[in-house]
């Protein structure tokens, strides 16, 4: 037993023989080449270039797992203690590569194929045909246009959420009750909201909202009868669900504001409005931008309420890109085109969010 050196941290000898290194590297190469060979062979078999192969791709998966395990083991065999440190992160990296990067690349491939599940011929690469189809697809562009309306509605939601947050931050009676009560819609599944509100409360003959509307003088209430009204109603239901989310973020921001600054503004003679406009609002900008960006990300996924309540109608007026892709992919088994639409939407979202964050970055630092 050694009594010298770093007794606390060194748990194995760093003296690694050349033979051991070679063995470790060989392990990776052999299993890696085996994996590639099996994958290549199975690929050729699936394209009917060779006469025999496996019934499924499962053996390729097993070969990948063997290679991944060998790669992890080789880290320790070749590099000893340093390799063990790598082992803390390497399995996670391989996991992400397997479950995120590979499916993404595979999805990219599918999006350039003609693949209708009902087709007799299966998947056929079709170049840029899906892109051309998308270019001429009025349903897709209509859905994208609707998304602009939906995203713009976030600004209105923000204004309402800010107002509610300010109210709940004030010393009002029953403040705790209202804080919980206002949070309740967020706890509901959008599917439940669709059925309880969209299908039941807005039912035009018996629904309580329709009755209320009649009481208020609207003879024939119709919440989904025209494109504008339907779009507004969908926006309202979505807003009702998610305004509490923005509100709670803004409320947290308001409570974290330095009290002395606000009190100083009062001492200096600022009216409540001036205090809000010149002090509170600027101080709240970082929280506001964060809330808006997260809400926009939520909004870009909007689909459940639309699918359940209007199916995108009337005439596509309420369709979101996601609800349209849902119909294209699920109802019509159009895997290739549906995947392309999802990929394009992903790219659009990445670009949009990047620009948005760049634009918002100037507000993310609190003014000194």
């Amino acid at each position: 037993m050694t009594t010298e050196g770093d007794l606390l941290h060194t748990v194995t000898s760093e003296r690694i023989s050349a033979l051991r290194r070679r063995a470790g590297r060989s392990l990776v190469w052999v299993t890696g080449l085996g994996f590639l060979a099996i994958a290549l062979w199975q690929g050729l078999y699936s394209f009917q270039k060779v006469g025999w192969g496996f019934d499924t791709w499962r053996p390729v998966l097993f070969a990948y797992l063997v290679w991944a395990t060998a790669l992890c083991a080789a880290q320790v065999i070749v590099r000893g203690e340093a390799g063990k440190r790598t082992l803390f992160i390497l399995p996670a990296v391989l996991f992400v590569v397997s479950l995120v990067v590979f499916p993404l690349l595979f999805g990219l491939y599918i999006s350039f194929t003609d693949w209708n599940l009902a087709s007799q011929d299966g998947m056929k690469p079709n170049g840029l045909d899906n892109l051309r189809q998308m270019w001429n697809d009025t349903f897709f562009w209509n859905a994208l246009k609707n998304m602009i309306y939906y995203v713009l509605a976030v600004l209105v939601e923000y204004a309402i959420a800010f107002g509610l947050a300010v109210l709940l931050n004030a010393q009002i009676r029953g403040r705790k009750f209202f804080r919980v009560a206002f949070l309740l819609p967020l706890m509901l599944s959008p599917v439940a909201v669709s059925w309880m509100i969209g299908k039941s409360m807005m039912e035009i003959r018996f629904g309580p909202l329709a009755r209320l509307a009649r009481e208020l003088g609207w003879d024939r209430p119709s919440f989904f009868g025209t494109p504008e009204m339907a779009r507004f109603t969908i926006m309202a239901m979505d807003a009702w669900t998610f305004i509490p989310f923005m509100m709670i973020m803004l409320l947290a921001g308001l409570q974290a504001l330095p009290k002395e600054v606000i009190e100083a503004s009062k001492v200096d003679g600022a009216t409540p409005w001036q205090s809000f406009r010149e002090v509170i609002f600027p101080l709240m900008l970082p929280v506001s931008v964060t809330a808006i960006v997260i809400r926009i990300i939520f909004k870009l996924k909007l689909a459940d309420i639309i699918i359940n309540v209007t199916s995108g109608g009337p005439g596509g007026a309420t369709d979101s890109v996601t609800s349209f892709i849902f119909r294209e992919y699920r109802d019509r088994s159009n895997v290739g085109y549906g995947t392309l639409l999802a990929m394009v939407y992903l790219v659009l979202i990445v670009i949009f969010i990047t620009l948005l964050l760049k634009f918002a970055s100037r507000f993310l630092e609190r003014p000194q």
């Binding site: 087709s119 299966g122 299908k199 209007t310 109802d331």
Partner: protein, 552 residues
């Protein structure tokens, strides 16, 4: 029988102990007749089956299903020796809706497993996952089941690709296929002349109307003034449905005192199922008695959805949209679930086409207010019919009930064909579930299935079991007439049929919202979208499969 329906019937009949005893007494009396009891042991067996657990005695349990499975095992025993399938394992893929379907099959097949020695593994799927799971299994070549519960519309996807096993002759005899209602006989369940399907269910759309509208003196006198001179009576044709619907706009409903409406069209899509409701309007115009095809041209797969027959149907709907107050407000957002359960049963609207569920729920649902004033008929006919062969209208009256969805069946996959023992075992299990006697029980108790055999319409058996005869005759009569109609419109069982329906719903929604200039333009947009789907799936194969599905 669907579970909610069963519960409602029991509730509606208020099946008291006294009434139950009456039913039992009637049954007992029937059984006590020496001539019947001795001469027909089969009838006795059927009566005994109907006593498990007894109408109104609560929902059947797994023990009841097993008991029924045991009682109907005679047919299996005639073809299979005890323990003959020892060591055979089968995988059965089906639904788990309402804890029925596969759950029932498990119970029914348990005695069969015990007798034959086979073992069944189960794949339970929610309805929403079913289509995707099936299509993915087919597309990726990973069919991991030997027996499947499947709707006839998917036959194109499965039978057309040669994935199913042909039914052996002994199964045909065991399940007595001659007892099937007419529309479920060939070509349904067959492909290229070969039989594949063991039916366990039936489906079609029937017409429901409000009798109180037609018994109402005020409406009759108003019709005498405003109408076309015809009698104020339930409409028999779509032309009359249109006239009545326009006439009723702005009138007062005699039952609710609210606004009256005519026919309730669902104007919003329903995952493809909404297109069936435009078909209801179109089939009498489009389904010529001399031509089995009505949705596509079988030689070219050219859609007929933009021919004058379908355009007439779309135009009729558009005319009602344009007529003030012909529909309830928000009708543009009403799907078939809304028209049936939120509107018609709740007293809104005078006429409706739907599956058998609604006709019966009208009398038994707690939320229905039309139970005493509802009448039933087959799908309205038309005064003219489009002849696609001559491309002209024929001014002859026509009727064509829409056999929407065709019902569930049991299919055996070709994966068992290479193993004789497994093949026989799979078919024996399918035949056990599709037997004549088990069918009676499934239609009388909660199972999720509707009647599909002529023998299930023997009202005496229902009455003896404790059901209200008038009710049952009402419930089943319009279905039976539709099922056996000589010019029934049978759904094309081609691959991807729901893709066609789904895209049609999208285009119809645009048309109804006024985004197309006319009914013709709407229909042309549907046809163009259908042509794309046909090209994508493969025109030549679709032609071949469509012809096979039509039995041409």
């Amino acid at each position: 029988m669907k579970v909610e329906l069963y519960n409602r019937i029991c509730a509606a009949q208020k099946l008291s102990r006294r009434r139950m005893l009456q039913g039992s007494a009637a049954l007992g009396a029937a059984l006590a007749m020496p001539k019947v009891a001795l001469a027909d042991s089969h009838a006795k067996l059927r009566a005994e089956i109907l006593k498990i657990p007894g109408v109104g005695a609560g929902s059947p349990t797994d023990a009841d299903w097993q008991k029924v499975g045991e009682m109907v095992l005679g047919a299996t025993k005639a073809n299979v020796a005890e323990g003959e399938f020892k060591g055979v394992e089968l995988t059965f893929m089906g639904l788990n809706n309402q804890n029925l379907h596969n759950f029932l099959f498990r119970g029914f097949l348990k005695p069969w497993e015990a007798y034959t020695g086979a073992k069944i593994n189960w794949i339970d799927l929610a309805q929403a996952d079913y289509n995707a799971r099936l299509q993915q299994s087919i597309a990726t070549g990973t069919v991991d089941f030997d027996i499947i519960e499947m709707g006839a519309p998917f036959e194109g996807d499965v039978l057309g690709k040669g994935l199913a096993s042909e039914m052996p002759g002994w199964v045909r005899d065991q399940i007595d296929m001659n007892d099937y209602v007419d529309y479920l006989k060939a070509p349904v369940g067959t492909w290229d002349g070969k039989t594949y399907r063991v039916s366990i269910d039936g489906d079609c759309h029937t017409f429901s109307y409000r009798k109180d509208y037609y018994d109402n003196a005020d409406m009759a006198s108003a019709w005498a003034t405003e109408g076309d001179g015809s009698a104020w009576a339930p409409p028999k044709t779509w032309e009359m449905v249109q006239k009545h619907s326009k006439f009723l706009a702005g009138k007062t409903d005699p039952l609710t005192g609210l606004e009256a409406y005519g026919f309730l069209d669902p104007l919003k899509g329903w995952g493809g199922f909404g297109f069936y409701f435009l078909e209801d309007r179109a089939t009498p115009y489009a389904k010529h008695p001399g031509d089995p095809a009505w949705l596509f041209d079988p030689d070219t797969m050219k859609p007929r959805v933009n021919n004058p027959a379908f355009v007439q149907a779309i135009q009729d709907v558009m005319d009602l949209i344009a007529t003030p107050n012909a529909y309830p407000a928000d009708q543009i957002n009403a799907d078939p679930g809304t028209t049936a359960f939120q509107q018609f049963l709740a007293g809104t609207g005078g006429m409706l086409d739907w599956w058998g569920d609604v006709g019966s729920s009208a009398r038994t649902s707690d939320t229905s207010v039309v139970g005493d004033v509802v009448g039933f008929d087959i799908n309205p006919g038309s005064e003219k019919v489009w002849n696609s062969q001559t491309s002209s209208w024929e001014n002859t009256p026509n009727q064509s009930p829409n056999m929407a969805y065709l019902g569930w069946g049991i299919y055996v996959m070709a994966t068992v064909d290479s193993d004789t023992k497994k093949h026989k075992a799979a078919w024996s299990a399918a035949a056990h579930l599709g037997g004549k006697d088990i069918a009676l029980w499934m239609s009388a108790y909660p199972s999720g299935f509707q009647p599909y055999r002529n023998s299930q319409f023997n009202y005496d058996e229902w009455e003896a079991a404790g059901y209200d005869r008038a009710y049952i005759e009402d419930y089943l009569g319009s279905n039976l007439e539709s099922y056996n109609h000589p010019n029934a419109a049978i759904e094309p069982r081609i691959p991807g049929i729901f893709q066609y329906y789904s895209v049609a719903e999208d285009e119809l929604a645009k048309g109804y919202a006024g985004q197309y200039k006319s009914a013709q333009e709407t229909a042309d947009a549907i046809a163009a979208a259908w042509e794309k789907i046909t090209d994508q799936i493969g025109r030549e194969s679709q032609i071949k499969l469509y012809k096979a599905s039509l039995g041409i």
